[in-house]
Structure formats: structure tokens, C-alpha cells
């Protein structure tokens, strides 16, 4: 059994830090003052900057490096009502050995499944289960009444605790978008903090907590920026764009904006928070734009599994095709990569 992954921050230090930053209890009024005091976002300018980053030309050695790095940053995901242990075994096999024809292909960072599929995933991973930094593959579980988040706090906490008890290394929670849009920032903060507490294991370590903002429902960039700060203040280890169930899911401007927040948070506190764009990233070309955006915004040190992930399912195969092309010099085709 591999050593459990410990999260970056304990809840106690997260709360202390939040109190210090906010200068008061994290209630609606204090949070509102703080979050609405952050400089606004100009949508046109943000999108222009994202588009400019998207024009970087990544060629030859840089492209090869980028393709391998993308694979090692993928949370290979299946989140369907029709998921079965067999489907999860198949996903795990692909995660461990993405390209059967090329043993030099790196493994993905994690598999991401619903909570009840965690035992199947762990079982299928066997010895490969572990910290992606040590070459292992982590198990991430979506929780807290994913994807809508419309359930009582007790249900959300039970959902989380069960997945952690089953051995999940990472929890992808959703925020209560309804509460956020109604201005009940204190409630959102408390729920994230409570889920963070539920991530704790008996031995004192914690599963890493990714907080899904569902940016497609927050709609404005100002909301995304505030929700990012709120999630980080409440103790999230990662901020994640989307569930993949709402359109639009991840976009480059939204991800750029979230990277600006984690960069600013790092400048302010010295703590590094991860970012996970999820949903809608299907091509290597797009994924490379994200790598460029990460490196030129937060910094190159963010391009590691503890600080950046792609939530994706079909992206992997496109990267594999590109990778085959860089090795062989010609394009193959969809039948030269496995469907899952």
C-alpha cells in the first residue's frame, strides 16, 4: 500500500491564514468587503491576453517536452452514470500504459471517478497507486453531490468522507453556486472548510482538495476571480474550473484568470495553490496553449502534478497521436491509439 498523499495545508493553518488575510471572521460581510475590494477584471483585455498567449509557437524539442508533460498532468476521467467496475478497470489500464506501442510514454497523474468507483480504481491500479511525483497514479474522486452540489451539507460531508475512507487521494468538490450568486460567501466558505475537514484521514494526513467553481455557471470573470479567492481562503489546495457537465467548461481566459489569482496568492503568502482546467480541452494544440499560459503567468514551477492538472478524457489520445507523429515523422490515425 503506497503512502497516502498529504495535502499542502492543514485546516488549522488555512483558517488562521484566512483570518489574517481577511482581518476578521469569514462571515458574509467580511468576505464581501474583501472579495469586492479586489481589482476588477476587464473581459476584453483578459481575452486578448489569453489569445496572445495562444499564438506562441511551440516546436521541435519544446513540443516533445510539452506532449510528455501534458500526459503526466492529466487526470484521466470517467464521470458517467453508466460507469461500471469494468469501465474503470479499462480507464486505469489506459492510465498506466497510455500507449501500448511505446513504453517510454509517461503515465497520467491520476484517474478521476465517482466516489463509489474508488475501490474499483484502487484495486485496478494495484502497485501503481501512489503519488504522481513518485511515478504513481493517484485516485481522485468527485464528491459533495457532484455535479450540481444541491444537497445538504451532511450529505456532502458523508459523500466526501466515504470516498476518503475508500482510499481516494484527492477530492474534487463543487461549490454551492447558488449560495455564491446569492452573496452568501460565508456559507460557501464554511462548506469548503467543512469538506476540507472531511478530507482528513485517521492518521492525521489529508486528501488533497480541489474546489470546482463551475465557471460556466458563475458567468462573469469578476465572479470567477472572487470565487477563486474565496476557495483558496477556505483551504482549497487546487481551484478547478468545471465539472465538465456545464457549458462552457474550461476556457483559456478563465484559466488565465485563475492562474493570476494563484500567482498573486503566492506573492502574498508564499503558498502555492494548484489549478485544474477541466472539460473541453481535447487537442494537443489547445493543451500546449494552457502549458504556455501556466508558464508565463504563474511560472514554470507550476507545471508539475501537484500544481497543475488537466481534467480530460479524450485529450490523452490526441496527445498520443501527436507523440507518435514526433517519433515516427508521420501521422497515424485513430485506430493506432486505444479507445480507453
Amino acid at each position: 500500500m503506497p503512502a497516502p498523499i498529504s495535502a499542502g495545508t492543514s485546516l488549522v493553518t488555512a483558517r488562521e491564514r484566512a483570518l489574517a488575510v481577511l482581518g476578521g471572521e469569514p462571515d458574509d460581510a467580511t468576505l464581501r468587503r474583501y472579495l469586492h475590494g479586489i481589482a476588477g477584471v476587464d473581459a476584453v483585455g483578459l481575452e486578448q491576453r489569453a489569445a496572445a498567449l495562444g499564438t506562441r509557437s511551440i516546436k521541435t524539442t519544446s513540443k516533445s517536452w510539452a506532449l510528455d508533460r501534458i500526459i503526466s498532468l492529466i487526470d484521466l476521467t470517467t464521470l458517467e452514470g453508466a460507469d461500471t467496475p469494468g469501465k474503470v478497470r479499462s480507464l486505469v489500464a489506459k492510465a498506466m500504459n497510455p500507449d501500448p506501442a511505446d513504453a517510454t510514454t509517461p503515465r497520467v497523474a491520476a484517474v478521476c471517478v465517482y466516489g463509489d468507483m474508488v475501490p474499483s480504481a484502487i484495486d485496478a491500479l494495484g502497485g501503481a497507486h501512489g503519488d504522481p511525483d513518485d511515478g504513481g497514479i493517484a485516485v481522485a474522486a468527485v464528491a459533495t453531490a457532484f455535479p450540481s452540489g444541491r444537497a445538504s451539507l451532511d450529505v456532502k460531508l458523508a459523500d466526501t468522507a466515504e470516498a476518503v475512507a475508500a482510499g481516494a487521494d484527492e477530492i474534487d468538490m463543487v461549490i454551492d453556486r447558488g449560495a455564491f450568486l446569492a452573496g452568501r460567501y460565508g456559507l460557501v466558505f464554511d462548506q469548503i472548510a467543512a469538506v476540507k475537514e472531511a478530507c482528513r484521514r485517521p492518521d492525521g494526513t489529508s486528501a488533497s482538495l480541489k474546489v470546482i467553481l463551475e465557471t460556466g455557471e458563475l458567468v462573469t470573470y469578476d465572479n470567477v476571480r472572487r470565487a477563486s479567492w474565496l476557495s483558496i481562503l477556505a483551504g482549497g489546495d487546487f481551484i478547478k474550473t468545471s465539472t465538465g457537465k456545464v457549458q462552457p467548461a474550461a476556457t483559456l481566459p478563465v484559466t488565465l484568470l485563475m492562474l493570476e489569482v494563484v500567482r498573486d496568492w503566492h506573492l502574498m503568502t508564499g503558498q502555492r495553490i494548484g489549478v485544474k482546467p477541466a472539460g473541453g480541452i481535447r487537442s494537443s494544440k489547445d493543451a500546449i496553449k494552457y502549458l504556455v499560459t501556466v508558464a508565463e503567468t504563474a511560472g514554470e514551477e507550476w507545471l508539475q502534478p501537484h500544481l497543475f492538472r488537466f481534467g480530460a478524457s479524450s485529450l490523452l489520445n490526441d496527445v498520443l497521436l501527436q507523440r507518435q507523429k514526433t517519433t515516427s515523422g508521420h501521422y497515424s490515425g485513430a485506430d493506432y491509439v486505444t479507445i480507453d
Partner: protein, 526 residues
């Protein structure tokens, strides 16, 4: 490896088929110049690109004569719709040959290929498309019915946006029905000469556009030529002033687009990340070789330190180097002369007590380069806050209140452009209203569109380019004869009440009146 050291991604030069020598483009043909030919070089490597003909006074006279012939015989007689067809054709050819033009521009000028590819050349095409649409709609240009072309336009353009400035000059001139003699800058003639080939490809009637190359004396001879009806110049204020003197007392119409020292005003409620991008784009776009560059950053004092710190972080990610590399952000300074001027003003800044900070970047051995630089602790009385540096050098000043920001922004002999950064819409409107600058950007900078007029106040020149206003610079209202005839025509077809005022008008069939206007009678009736 470091991912951020992106592998080289050079745009191929194979698409260029340059000649070794270029002549003058007069009357639809390339002809030899009678002056001493000169070299054009790549400012990034100092390598020779081509030998360029030099037009002397006799060549200038030939070009003006060709333009006059084309005006008299062809262009002034052609319908607006047909002129528009030629302009549309040129616009499409620019698009078809866009990669070639972008590579040539970056090679000759030193600007990054991403800018020539994504900004310069697309705008060139946009300018021709826009004015192509105007060619048959001149009645709506704001000068009344049937406005007339001026005749032969002499156009002298600078080296910072060689092809784009050509488009700004030629497109409205042709749409309005003028013919043109254009002189590109001596350090950047290449794209204008490729453009001449495009004109041949477009089958533009000979002489409608003539492109003559040479240095300042060629330009002076062109402007001074008595066969010229219109002078349009973009460049330095000193030369603009000389041109204004030269044409004073003549019938030549003049538009001048000259220097600038734009204030980019950042209020404390600005969208900060986008403001930083805007500041960078404002002054480091095209190495700061932009007349409307935001070279004076006016930042509210309470966010000064944060803005400067973020700016330095951002500047540290800029890539300086090979203009043809697709990842280059900062290209080469266009000439040794310009580089020396930047050095000189920069040293003056240090001597005046300002703090200089330059982004850490490797400077290539050959060519002309200047690292992105910001000066803090700059006072309004500093020369680097007053003189146009025309390079990648930003002077940072502070203000406390909107009134002070406006006062400082306006405290310059120039008045070309300005920027305002704030989340508050009402403040944008209030401040913009009081800024004495021809172009004001709000929460953005250095954005251009053919439908938007561009031009300056005070020493930044006069006249407008772009939009309907840009057309007016190449038109005059219908002549007194034509004008009154036009008025009469409207009167006569305008109904009984109007006709009753006009003496004898009601008795004449409208159609007949249109054929033989009676301007004197009409004038007397008024």
C-alpha cells in the same frame, strides 16, 4: 530543460522572392533612379537585403507628371464603383500575399513577425477593404453631393509601420479619386516595393500610384513640387513643421500626423492585470516605435509601487531577439541612428535623477537592440517625460486626483493619444472629455480600426486619417459651379414650396435643368 526557453520557431524566408535591386515605380513600371542608389539592411543582423534606387528631382518630376496624366486621363474619369473594384482587388491581393508581406516587413523593419503577421498586414487589408467600400459613396462623406478629388497627392511616410502607413495614405486617396506619389522611409522601402508589384498584379492603371524611394531630400523635392495638390506626411514634428512652412501660401492641402508623448493614466480602481498588459502593449509594442505610444505612465500614487512591481515581473517574461521568430515579443530598433537617440535620451534621464530599470535579456551581438526599460522617479520637468523617445522606454509619473491626472496628461506640446484605465465608466467619460488628445483609449491601448479617425492636437499635427474624416482629407466640396448646380437640382426636385422660391425654376422641367444648370441665376436668387 526549461520549457520557457522555447525552441526556435523562425518563420521561413523562403516565401520571399526579393530582387537584388529595386527601381522606382513610376507610371506602372520599375525604372532606374538618377540619384545614387542606397542599401536597405535588416536592423536585426545588419545584413544587406537589397539595393534601392534613389529618386532625384528629375525622377520626382517624372512621378508627379505620371500621376497627373493618370489623374487627367483615367482616374478622375472613372466611376467610384470602378475605383472601388481596384481597391477591393488590392485588398484581396494583400491578403493572399500576407505571409510574404509580413516576413518582408519584419526583415526590413525589425519588428516581431507576430506583430507584422497579426497586426500590420491584417490592418493593411482592412484599410483597403474599408475605403474600397467608400469609393462609390462619396456623396455621404459629409461634404455635400459630388465632392471632388484634389488631384495629385504627395505622400511621405515613416519607418515604424511601413506598409500600414502606406495603406493609411493610399487607400483613402484612391477611393476619393486622387492619384498618388508616395515616398516610403529610406530604411524601410521593401514592402512598399512589393506593394508596387501587387499594384501591377491588380492591373491598376499606370501612374495612379507611383512609389519613389530616397532619403529626406527626395521627400522634400516631392512636397515642394508645384504639380502636387495635396501633401500628406507622417513623421517627426520637426519635418512636419518644415513642410508646413514650405507649403504655406500655396494651394496645397496638408495633413500632418506627427509625434506624441501619450499619457497612459492608471487609476487605483483599474483592472490591474489588464492594465499591466495595456501598459506593456502601450509602450513596448513595435519597440515603442509608435507615435501614439503610451510613453508617459501616469499612475495613481497609492498603487504606484504595486504597479511598478507587477510591471517589472511582466517585463521579465518578454522575449527580445530574432524578429522572424514567432515567439519574439521585442524586435530590433530600426536603425543605428534611432538607437543612438534612445541611448542619448536614456542617459539624460539618468543624469536628471530618474531610476532606470531594464528587463534582463540577452542582447544579440549584431544589429540594433534596446532592452525594455522603465524609468521611475520621473518628474514632469524631466526631459524623458517631455521628449518623444520613440523607443522601448517608459517614464513613470504619479498623480493624486483625477484633476491632477488630467492636468499632467495635457501638459505636453503633443496631443496625439491617451489611455485611461479604471473600472468606473463615468470616470472614463469625464476624463476623456478633458484630455486634449486626438485618440483616447479606455481600458485598452494601441487599437486601430479603419473606421476610426486618427490624428492629433497641437504639435501632433492636423487632419485625420481613417474613417469618414480620413476621406475628407482627400476631397473638396463640389466646385462653386458644381455645388450650386447640385443645390439647384435638389431644390427643383424637392417639391413646390422649394421651387416657388427659385426664380423661374418651377417652369423648367427638372431634367432639362440637370443638363444645363444655370449657376449664376441660382446664385442671384439667394
Amino acid at each position: 530543460m526549461s520549457f520557457l526557453e522555447y525552441a526556435p520557431a523562425p518563420e521561413s524566408r523562403a516565401i520571399l522572392s526579393l530582387r537584388d535591386r529595386y527601381g522606382l515605380f513610376i507610371d506602372g513600371e520599375f525604372v532606374d533612379g538618377r540619384g545614387t542608389p542606397f542599401q536597405t539592411i535588416s536592423p536585426a543582423t545588419e545584413e544587406h537585403i537589397a539595393t534601392i534606387a534613389n529618386a532625384n528631382e528629375a525622377d520626382v518630376a517624372d512621378a508627379v507628371a505620371a500621376a497627373r496624366r493618370a489623374y487627367d486621363r483615367t482616374w478622375s474619369k472613372m466611376s467610384g464603383r470602378d475605383r472601388g473594384k481596384y481597391l477591393f482587388r488590392i485588398a484581396r491581393l494583400v491578403q493572399e500575399r500576407s505571409r510574404e508581406l509580413a516576413v518582408a516587413e519584419s526583415l526590413d523593419n525589425g519588428k516581431p513577425i507576430k506583430e507584422s503577421r497579426d497586426v500590420d498586414v491584417p490592418l493593411v487589408a482592412a484599410w483597403f477593404f474599408y475605403y474600397a467600400g467608400w469609393a462609390d459613396k462619396l456623396d455621404h462623406a459629409g461634404l455635400g453631393a459630388d465632392p471632388r478629388a484634389l488631384g495629385v497627392a504627395a505622400q511621405v511616410i515613416p519607418w515604424n509601420f511601413p506598409l500600414l502607413m502606406l495603406a493609411w495614405k493610399i487607400a483613402p486617396a484612391l477611393a476619393a479619386g486622387n492619384t498618388v506619389v508616395l515616398k516610403p522611409a529610406e530604411t524601410t522601402p521593401l514592402t512598399a516595393l512589393i506593394f508596387a508589384e501587387i499594384l501591377q498584379q491588380a492591373d491598376l492603371p499606370p501612374g495612379v500610384v507611383n512609389i519613389i524611394t530616397g532619403a529626406g531630400d527626395t521627400g522634400a523635392a516631392l512636397v515642394a513640387h508645384e504639380g502636387v495638390d495635396k501633401v500628406a506626411f507622417t513623421g517627426s514634428t520637426a519635418v512636419g513643421r518644415a513642410i508646413a512652412k514650405q507649403v504655406a501660401g500655396t494651394d496645397k492641402k496638408v495633413t500632418l500626423e506627427l509625434g506624441g508623448k501619450a499619457a497612459n493614466i492608471v487609476f487605483d480602481d483599474a483592472p490591474i492585470d489588464q492594465a499591466i498588459e495595456g501598459i506593456v502593449n502601450g509602450i513596448f509594442f513595435n519597440q515603442g516605435h509608435v507615435c501614439c505610444a503610451g510613453s508617459r505612465l501616469l499612475v495613481q500614487e497609492n498603487i504606484h509601487d504595486e504597479v511598478v512591481e507587477r510591471l517589472k515581473l511582466r517585463l521579465s517574461t518578454l522575449r527580445l531577439g530574432d524578429p522572424l521568430d514567432k515567439n519574439t515579443d521585442i524586435g530590433a530598433i530600426n536603425s543605428r541612428e534611432q538607437l543612438e537617440r534612445i541611448h542619448e535620451l536614456s542617459e539624460i534621464g539618468v543624469a536628471e535623477g530618474a531610476d532606470r530599470w531594464s528587463a534582463p535579456c540577452d542582447i544579440p551581438e549584431n544589429g540594433f537592440w534596446y532592452a525594455p526599460t522603465i524609468f521611475t522617479n520621473v518628474q514632469t520637468s524631466s526631459r524623458i517625460a517631455r521628449d518623444e523617445i520613440f523607443g522601448p522606454v517608459l517614464s513613470v509619473l504619479t498623480f493624486r486626483t483625477p484633476a491632477e491626472a488630467i492636468a499632467k496628461a495635457n501638459n505636453t506640446p503633443y496631443g496625439l493619444s491617451a489611455g485611461i484605465w479604471t473600472d468606473k465608466g463615468s470616470r472614463i467619460l469625464a476624463v476623456a472629455d478633458q484630455l486634449r488628445a486626438g485618440v483616447i483609449w479606455a481600458n485598452t491601448f494601441n487599437r486601430f480600426d479603419p473606421s476610426s479617425p486618427f490624428g492629433g492636437y497641437k504639435e501632433s499635427g492636423y487632419g485625420r486619417e481613417g474613417g469618414r474624416h480620413g476621406l475628407a482629407a482627400y476631397l473638396k466640396p463640389a466646385s462653386s459651379v458644381g455645388g450650386r448646380a447640385g443645390a439647384q437640382r435638389r431644390l427643383e426636385t424637392g417639391g413646390a414650396a422649394a421651387s416657388a422660391v427659385g426664380e423661374a425654376a418651377s417652369e423648367k422641367p427638372a431634367r432639362r435643368a440637370r443638363r444645363t444648370p444655370k449657376p449664376t441665376k441660382k446664385g442671384a436668387a439667394k
